[in-house]
């Protein structure tokens, strides 16, 4: 335990020092990995317990647009706009989640209900084009260097925000893991009726994890908009981004702490690499390869990169130590 703590502390220290050595480009990529890693982590909090949501684009969209609209039209600082958007995302999650869990809408049906929700948010954003700018998106009013507006002269400022929020996401994951909630949720995902029969409040457990997941996803969406200073409905809401979240989280491995972040690292680095290799002449080449990889992942590595690595390590460890070693962790 102490060794792994030491490694973690060292890794965080290295990450904190990154802005002092890395290029602007590397910093930009790292910020994106941190923010998306945070969003994928938030999704996996539900996903790993069998609550496969295809609708996180809805929460992301609310998080991205509410602070932006409040800032552009009412001059409200994002420091208030972001909590407001998180509250709205939680409200949305409860309005959809409560009946879903009460009426036991699960599996395919839960995925499709949440998919419909993400379409509702996307189409509302496009339809309200008088305020949101529709498909053209909107740019945040710029005021130069301002802490109140979360607008900074250099990327490194924002980097620390992204790093702090990402670490906060990991802490939230650990917090869920440490409590009895995790055990309850695992039991629910195995067999809901059996879980209820031993006294687990299925409704409360599911709703709690959904609320946490929705709020954090909205926060991720807010950060994304604040960082780029521009927002566009297709990139933060709707089916496409919802599926992107699901896939990246699964590719990394949604059952382990760092899995979703590895998913972000993998997809973003792959996308950049393919973009550099193919250049701008082959639009779609990067995504074509990405699509094939996704299918292969689902078929051959449903537990994701980190999940597979864990299994391989556990197997190697067991072979070396014979039957004495601990069994592989299967969350």
């Amino acid at each position: 335990m102490s060794v792994s703590r030491l490694v973690a502390a060292l890794a965080v220290a290295l990450l904190a020092l990154l802005p002092f050595g890395a290029s602007e480009y590397a910093l930009h990529i790292t910020i994106q990995i941190l923010i998306w890693g945070f969003i994928y982590t938030a999704w996996s909090m539900m996903g790993r317990f069998g609550l496969t949501s295809f609708g996180h684009g809805a929460f992301l969209g609310v998080g991205a647009y509410v602070p932006a609209l409040l800032w552009n039209f009412a001059g409200v600082t994002p420091w208030l706009g972001i909590p407001a958007s998180m509250a709205l995302a939680v409200l949305l999650a409860v309005v959809i989640g409560y009946p879903c869990f009460r009426l036991r809408v699960v599996g395919h049906y839960f995925a499709l209900v949440t998919l419909a929700l993400s379409q509702v948010v996307l189409l509302t954003l496009i339809a309200a084009r008088d305020v949101t700018g529709g498909s053209l998106g909107m740019t945040l009013n710029s005021v130069g260097y301002s802490w109140a507006a979360l607008q900074f002269p250099e990327k490194s400022y924002f980097y620390f925000f992204a790093l702090a929020v990402w670490l906060g996401g990991l802490a939230a994951w650990r917090w869920i893991d440490a409590g009895l909630d995790r055990v309850a949720l695992e039991a629910i995902s195995e067999d809901e009726i059996a879980a209820a029969s031993v006294g687990i409040d299925v409704m409360r457990e599911k709703l709690r994890v959904t609320i946490v997941s929705a709020a954090l996803t909205a926060l991720g969406g807010s950060l994304l908009t604040q960082y780029i200073q521009y927002v566009n409905p297709e990139t933060v809401a709707g089916v496409a981004v919802s599926l992107q979240i699901v896939f990246a989280a699964i590719a990394g491995g949604m059952h382990v702490l760092l899995g979703p972040t590895v998913g972000a690292l993998f997809t973003i680095v792959l996308n950049e690499a393919l973009r550099i290799v193919f250049g701008i002449h082959f639009i779609g080449a990067a995504n074509t390869i990405y699509g094939i990889l996704l299918i292969l992942f689902i078929i051959f590595m449903p537990r994701g990169i980190v999940g597979l690595a864990e299994e391989v390590f556990a197997r190697a460890f067991r072979r070396r130590n014979g039957a004495l070693s601990a069994p592989a962790t299967h969350a």
């Binding site: 209900v113 419909a116 189409l123 082959f282 995504n287 449903p302």
Partner: protein, 284 residues
């Protein structure tokens, strides 16, 4: 009654025909193989491209291009089952949903890579039909008639032919049918081919009304799943009726508000219906 409203209602009925055809194919596959093809509308996109190239570029006669398009998408359907569905048949249902979701990404970006993001038009203009003061697009009327014909043929095939009976039997109890000497695998492939063929037929009808582009599936895909679920997944008659309900909402909603809001309305209705009747309007 307002003449434009009447036109909206009529157009809704005509749109419903094509949506019903799409829902029929998806429902057939779900009912038999027990898998939702998220990428179903993308197969339609592939068919539309095939017809576009054969007709507009290679100068094939339109009907021949359509026949080739239907065959092409039917083969694609078989390939989807062979390469993507079969390997994940044993794993969790959600993985099957995700595998076809990966296919959606793949097909959309492959189309972008091959053909770019241009909107391509067949350049085939069908006349408008005037009945009194109402004008109806002939392409839509044709699509509606062909969709009904396709649905009727499928119904007869499933009811009257030996193979159709075997398909329905597999949908009811897949384990017992194995014991009766029916090859489940063969039935799955046949069903996937028919499902693909229906998508191919839909692409013949849609290519007459809409421009082809890599993301055209996004306009039909989500609403088609909603229709299938609303009608009760696997229930073909339910899906058929639900298609007309949804198309009316979209068409009349589009008349009173904007087209985006009418879709919002349709999706909201879907969500509410899932809570009121989770098994679908016509589910058992």
């Amino acid at each position: 009654m307002d003449i434009y409203l009447l036109e909206a209602i009529l157009n809704g009925i005509l749109l419903g025909g094509v949506l019903a055809l799409l829902a029929l194919g998806l429902n057939l596959i779900f009912g038999v193989v027990d898998v939702v093809w998220i990428a179903y509308a993308e197969l339609v996109m592939c068919g539309m491209y095939a017809i576009y190239w054969l007709y507009a570029f290679y100068g094939w006669p339109f009907l021949l291009a359509c026949a080739a398009g239907i065959l092409f998408v039917a083969v694609l359907g078989v390939l989807v089952h062979l390469l993507i569905i079969e390997p994940v048949l044993g794993s969790a249902p959600i993985n099957q949903l995700l595998a076809t979701g990966g296919l959606l990404f793949f097909l959309q970006s492959l189309a972008t890579l091959l053909f770019g993001t241009d909107f391509r038009n067949l350049g085939l203009r069908l006349p408008l039909i005037e009945i009194g003061e109402i004008s109806i697009s002939f392409a839509r009327l044709l699509a509606f008639a062909a969709a009904l014909l396709g649905a009727g043929t499928l119904y007869l095939f499933l009811r009257r032919s030996f193979l159709g009976t075997a398909i329905r039997a597999i949908a009811q109890d897949r384990d017992i049918m194995g014991l009766m000497g029916v090859s489940q695998r063969r039935i799955y492939f046949t069903t996937s081919a028919i499902g693909g063929g229906l998508a191919g037929l839909a692409s013949c009808l849609l290519v007459l009304q809409y421009d082809v582009h890599p993301f055209i599936g996004n306009s039909f895909g989500p609403i088609t799943f909603m229709i299938c679920v609303l009608g009760g997944l696997g229930n073909m008659i339910g899906g058929f009726i639900a298609a007309f309900v949804m198309s009316q909402i979209i068409s009349i909603g589009g008349f009173y508000f904007s087209i985006e809001f009418s879709y919002v309305l349709a999706f909201l209705l879907f969500i509410v219906m899932m809570f009121v009747r989770p098994q679908g309007i016509f589910g058992r």
